[in-house]
């Protein structure tokens, strides 16, 4: 008699292994993944990696005020007009940006997924109410909506996150609703119902795992969009002045009026934004191929 034991301990390892294969199976997403890990490490160890306080007016070895210095051994990424070290600013800003991305991306996918699942599964009036609400949000212009909210609430980090979350979930809700409607018509959902499974059990145990690839894809999109949105809002001066962020650095540059002179000042934060968002998109592409195999090259 063969043993009937199912491998219990390996469940998590199996799932992680699957995701590892999805990401590493595609060269671009593998590169993206490496960069994301790099940014994560920088974000986690930021206070130890940054050589200077980001708001410390620096003097060079000769004792001269280090204003608007181009990159050199002493200041690897140059300095601002007030003598702040851009390398240290960039490192600490990584932390803010990733934090905002992860939190608003995470919360928005949580909201979007739940609204999509519930609207799609129950249909009828529930669907009508939730989706018309989503439609109203779709009518809002993206950045002005966030700017208005931030001016209403205040510029603290948590309000910036709140403003981003409040609008960014709309796309994931729509997409996940559509997928839920398609899944709920499959035979195994009717079979689960016939087995006496409750609606909640069907939604979260039977439908959710089937929309998971799509959900992860939109989680990555939401994170990328949150980062871009935060950078845009900060650049327009609607960021938290107390915490340093990539968009905020560009805003400072704009305020200083030295844009034409200090090329090093805008290159580094801009490149970081582009690099991180592109990496996220690359990784999400790998998940998109799982969700939609037709994208796969044969």
């Amino acid at each position: 008699m063969p043993t009937s034991e199912l491998p219990q301990t390996s469940a998590w390892r199996r799932i992680l292994g699957e995701h590892y294969r999805i990401i590493m199976g595609n060269r671009l997403s593998a590169v993206g993944f490496v960069f994301i890990v790099l940014f994560l490490v920088v974000a986690i160890f930021a206070p130890w990696l940054a050589p200077h306080d980001p708001w410390e007016m620096l003097y060079d070895q000769e004792g001269e005020f280090a204003s608007l210095r181009p990159p050199s051994w002493e200041f690897p990424m140059g300095t601002t007009h007030l003598g702040y070290d851009l390398f240290s600013q960039l490192i600490l800003a990584t932390r803010t940006t990733l934090l905002i991305g992860a939190i608003s991306g995470g919360i928005s996918i949580l909201i979007g997924a739940n609204i999509g699942l519930i609207a799609g599964y129950y249909g009828g009036k529930t669907d009508e109410v939730l989706m018309r609400f989503t439609d109203v949000l779709y009518g809002m212009p993206f950045l002005p909506f966030i700017i208005v909210l931030i001016s209403l609430f205040g510029r603290e980090l948590e309000f910036v996150i709140l403003a981003i979350v409040l609008i960014i979930w709309r796309t994931s809700a729509r997409v996940i609703r559509a997928q839920t409607i398609s899944i709920k018509q499959r035979q195994f959902i009717a079979a689960a119902r016939a087995r006496g499974c409750s609606h909640l059990r069907i939604i979260y145990r039977h439908i959710l795992p089937n929309v998971l690839p799509l959900l992860l894809l939109y989680a990555a999109f939401n994170i990328a969009w949150s980062i871009i949105t935060e950078a845009s809002a900060s650049f327009l001066g609607f960021g938290d002045g107390e915490t340093i962020s990539w968009g905020g650095m560009l805003y400072e540059l704009w305020l200083s009026g030295k844009t034409r002179v200090a090329w090093w000042w805008f290159t580094a934060p801009s490149l970081c934004i582009v690099l991180l968002v592109t990496s996220l998109v690359f990784v999400s592409r790998a998940y998109e191929e799982v969700a939609n195999p037709r994208l796969r090259k044969r």
């Binding site: 063969p2 009937s4 195994f188 009717a190 079979a191 119902r193 016939a194 006496g196 059990r201």
Partner: protein
């Protein structure tokens, strides 16, 4: 044959509200199932078989209205139970279903074994490891290797998935298992294997089975008693032997003609002309009227009553008294052709 009553359904009616009007998918259906019995329900597509069992298991869609004089199951009146109570106490634990197209009824993201485990655990609050032992037994009953438990549904063949669904339906040792078209969509060899398996299961468990199919051959082979449905009503019901030896309803006669007989291979098959009725509105005449070669004036005036012509043999036809004559005529091809 006179076993203990397990299920007694009195006057069950299901109506669908549609834009075209009210569709009487099932009207006035009365039947019973004894303990340890296979009750077959036969009929063509759209005759109300699936609606009937969905009503029984309360799985009807929202636009359906169901009413019944009484549905008594194991001495308990089910019509008085609330939806929630029914799900909690009866559904799956005491009355389970092998759904139509059971092959697609497994969730593709979970291992088959885990899904059977879930079927045991959900209502019973047992731990995973406690549930695993009975699952091994269940797999054994339906003839699946226990090490297949860790496979995913896509790694199973159609017949294996079907057997896994049967295992799942037996998980809580229910008094009644309803099998909705258990062999449809499977090739003949697999069909045969599933049927043999169901027969073997019967000898191992004490559950009764309601077998629903459009395949007369399957139903003839498996059932103790048979009901023939047409247009949402049971036209004739009788013990299997009686039904095939002395059918009384013109529809049953027609059905019998339309299936090949193993004893008489030379015989040409005769099909019933026409198509099933639309079932709009309450039945005011015999639903088989338009396709029946034996219809008389009376048939169009009212819906015939259910008449018991022998113990356990009921028929819904005004000419039930002339059964031997109808039987003789029905075997002639000309009788059915004259309708067109």
């Amino acid at each position: 044959m006179t076993g203990e009553r397990l299920l007694q359904v009195q006057d069950l009616t299901v109506r669908y509200q549609t834009q075209m009007g009210e569709i009487h998918a099932v009207s006035g259906v009365t039947f019973f199932v004894n303990k340890n019995e296979v009750f077959g329900i036969a009929g063509e597509s759209g005759c109300g078989k699936s609606t009937l069992i969905r009503a029984l298991m309360r799985l009807l869609p929202d636009n359906a209205k169901m009413s019944a004089q009484s549905i008594e199951y194991e001495g308990e009146e089910l019509t008085r139970l609330s939806e929630a109570k029914f799900r909690e106490k009866i559904l799956w634990a005491r009355m389970s279903l092998v759904p139509q197209s059971a092959m697609n009824s497994l969730n593709p993201v979970y291992r088959v074994g885990d899904q059977v485990v879930e079927a045991i655990r959900a209502p019973k609050n047992v731990t995973k490891s406690e549930a695993r032992e009975p699952v091994t037994q269940l797999f054994d009953i339906v003839g699946l290797q226990p090490d297949l438990m860790k496979n995913f549904p896509h790694e199973f063949s159609g017949g294996m998935r079907q057997r896994a669904m049967i295992a799942m339906s037996l998980a809580l040792d229910p008094g009644l298992v309803v099998m909705d078209e258990p062999t449809t969509g499977l090739d003949v060899l697999v069909q045969e294997r599933i049927l043999r398996r169901i027969r073997e299961i019967r000898s191992q468990i004490s559950s009764s089975i309601i077998l629903i199919t459009h395949d007369i051959a399957v139903i003839a082979e498996m059932s103790d008693r048979i009901a023939v449905m047409y247009g949402g009503q049971i036209m004739e019901q009788a013990p299997a032997n009686d039904l095939f030896d002395t059918p009384c309803h013109p529809y049953t006669l027609g059905l019998k003609n339309a299936f090949p007989s193993i004893r008489n291979l030379q015989q040409k098959l005769i099909s019933i002309p026409g198509s099933p009725p639309t079932l709009l509105g309450a039945p005011s005449s015999c639903p088989f009227l338009e396709r029946c070669p034996f219809c008389v004036q009376q048939c169009s005036q009212r819906n015939p009553e259910n008449i018991t012509i022998q113990p356990l043999h009921e028929v819904r036809c005004v000419r039930h008294g002339e059964a031997p004559l109808l039987r003789e005529k029905a075997s002639e091809k000309e009788t059915w052709r004259s309708l067109n």
